[in-house]
Amino acid sequence: MARTVVNMPAQAKRGEIIEIKTLAGHVMETGFRHTERGESIPRDIITQFVCTYNGTEIFRADLFPAIAANPLITFTTVATESGTLEFKWLGDKGFTASHSAQLTVA
């Protein structure tokens, strides 16, 4: 399981817009590079990132090889209710990583 980091506030007021920063440890090998012997290095990237808020999808991103290694994705959401935010990364060669965080809405 890859290392994942999610940075977001633990508490928020109802209706407040919170910023969520996410990072997953991954080489994001482009598939366009070659070894010293001229052999092509196969592509190995994270292709999709999904965030769900109490089971409802609120954000989704399709990633391509042009995303830098250890993809950082920052986005926002409205704090509507207390609950769990689930983060999921899917990639080549069956790569999966997930993270969950609690948000308390006052």
């Binding site: 482009t30 590079r33 391509f64 830098a68 926002t76 959401t77 409205v78």
Partner: protein, 155 residues
Amino acid sequence: MTSRRHFLFLACGALSGAAQAQLPPDIGARRKAAADEALRKVTGGAELRTGKVKLDIPPLIDNGNAVPLTVTVDSPMTEKDHVRTIHVLTEKNPQPNVVSVHLGPRAGRANITTRVRLADTQTVTAIAQMSDGSFWVDRVPVVVTLSACLEDGLI
């Protein structure tokens, strides 16, 4: 026995041969066709209007391997009027797509940040599709001194 001079001559020949083998002569035209195709796939040939979208990226980049990039779209993000998707495309990367983001009214603000790779000095394009189906665009020219993707600098 191979002399140093002869060895260098052979090595240079082999290297230039390899470089040519990797790069088709019409690489510029191919990249352009790929970029146009990607744009057409995103918009379906719809009209692109400027404004609303703001692509924030440094104009001069030392290292193309991790370039911070922020896209902000001016939208109230309500159920009726919100940003549906944001696409970032490049002109001269080996593959034109960079990222496609799907948002909704629950995002609150249409503001995303990520880090990208840029292979060459080129124009980066951000396209936002609104909930009414309209497309808005921002294009920013950037200068890249050290390219990503092809680390031997072959563009």
